[in-house]
Subunit: 174 residues, 4 copies
Amino acid sequence: MNVAVVGYSGSVEREPVLRIAELCINLGKALATNGHTVFCGGRDGVMELVSRGVREAGGTVVGVLPVHESGNEHLSLRIKTPFDNITRSLVLIESSDVIVSVGGEVGTAVEVLMAYARAKPIILLLGSGGWTDRFSEVLIDDKYLDSRRNVAVLKARTVEETIRIIGDIGRQVK
Amino acid sequence: MNVAVVGYSGSVEREPVLRIAELCINLGKALATNGHTVFCGGRDGVMELVSRGVREAGGTVVGVLPVHESGNEHLSLRIKTPFDNITRSLVLIESSDVIVSVGGEVGTAVEVLMAYARAKPIILLLGSGGWTDRFSEVLIDDKYLDSRRNVAVLKARTVEETIRIIGDIGRQVK
Amino acid sequence: MNVAVVGYSGSVEREPVLRIAELCINLGKALATNGHTVFCGGRDGVMELVSRGVREAGGTVVGVLPVHESGNEHLSLRIKTPFDNITRSLVLIESSDVIVSVGGEVGTAVEVLMAYARAKPIILLLGSGGWTDRFSEVLIDDKYLDSRRNVAVLKARTVEETIRIIGDIGRQVK
Amino acid sequence: MNVAVVGYSGSVEREPVLRIAELCINLGKALATNGHTVFCGGRDGVMELVSRGVREAGGTVVGVLPVHESGNEHLSLRIKTPFDNITRSLVLIESSDVIVSVGGEVGTAVEVLMAYARAKPIILLLGSGGWTDRFSEVLIDDKYLDSRRNVAVLKARTVEETIRIIGDIGRQVK
């Protein structure tokens, strides 16, 4: 499956990314090991750490970049766009079958809502901070991001649980 | 000023729009009377009612439309785009100086977050339901939509308070 | 009708715009006088001169702007976008019923081809230079921009002929 | 290098694609054999035949798709977008270092002009028909697509010449 990972940008050596660095690298490795193609925004922060994990595990990681960005060093393929951060996220989300959300500021929140608007499965990696945890507090019936109930938003507490949920989604699609 | 009103789509004769119909018409009238140019998504629901109010008060209301939509009957000007609902919202938000949020599902949430990402002033019309009220519950320090603190999100309880806040913003800009 | 005018950008005091300055101002005036709403890219060059003509004749001229541009001083309404020059042209063309091409470099050529792809009527103002004249030389059967024959490309030699053709198109649409 | 191939859409078993089918397959094979990553619009026509050639030679071919399209069967990777044909071409062109044009209607013409606007090298595969040959007739000084002279447009008569020119461009970039 094509799995997008969205989350905090920013330096990997500073908070709020530093605290979840190992989680992100492990997530990248686990996605690659389980045969998924990883999509991300191609920049720094969570994107860079997940890309690093995928590369170290020998997988494929595609970065969908905004204008004037060349992307982190771990990317297998760079999709360049003439767009700003939010506009380019339309391509990132459309290209993915499942979205995993890790921490994140307002850009991440937009990506999660874009995915929900398209009825794409979303997994919130709980405890990673930012909008990932904030969304988990405002879900309608503990599942939905609005009253249209497009698609159930799922929650995972660990990388292993995330991988298992993605596997379940893959089997349902087939 | 150019004021965007974002909110629920859907039939104006059914909930959740019906309950706030008068509020929306009055908001449109008040914006027009106070000399603002109103921008909206040009479709039904809150957009249609606000457009009606603006037209009845003799003002200008611009609809930024997604592909294949011709817009509600009250629009002064139709900006047509080849884009889907979310992509066209990029143009709506970019063209506006202030954003007023009234109820709203996931599309409205994306518009509010796009505005915040651009550091544009946002006014949540409290009690109108949906993401407008949901955002008011998850604000950081009761003001911000993420930890970058781009711009303070403001709250209004009535149309009059909304107009007064927009006036204040206009004076600060000058 | 909503009439887009596309053409050269650049200083209005230098060639190749200077030579066609009066033509552009007169085109703007004539479009306004005949009740059309004029759309343009909102910047300098042909856009600025046409906007000036519209304003002097008391008409409405809408500028669809790329990111970071505030537009020329003659615009009635500014539609701001977060897009580059070419991406924003998608909105300009989609919003217009007829496109008039005056001179123009590669950006103008893209706008004419976008219009043709949407089967929107195009009028080439002959003798204005650039891609306007270049297209007139490569038309298939002196009419079409590709072998799909989406829509006939029309030619005018003067502002008066342009206005007359737009009037004919308006009557056919009704 | 990332090489985009743009050209006719339509059935591969009908003209105008049928006549250049072998050329397209050979182009795909040669690009793959020479280590280039191929980008295309991912659909039928020239895109499908080039994709087939790349796959048969064991290379990588990325399809940048418009909304609601799943792409031809030969693609290594599908980049899905929520955009129409022309808007998605912005991503295709931005992601590529060189553009090869083969035949083509108005959509291809827009892609070539987008590339020129970004000053990306363009190779016209002469004799392939459509806008590829049409452009070769209106070049300024036999090289440029407008008077700004952004980048020289190059011409090739064979697949071998195309590959050689791409190699030359690659060496200049380094």
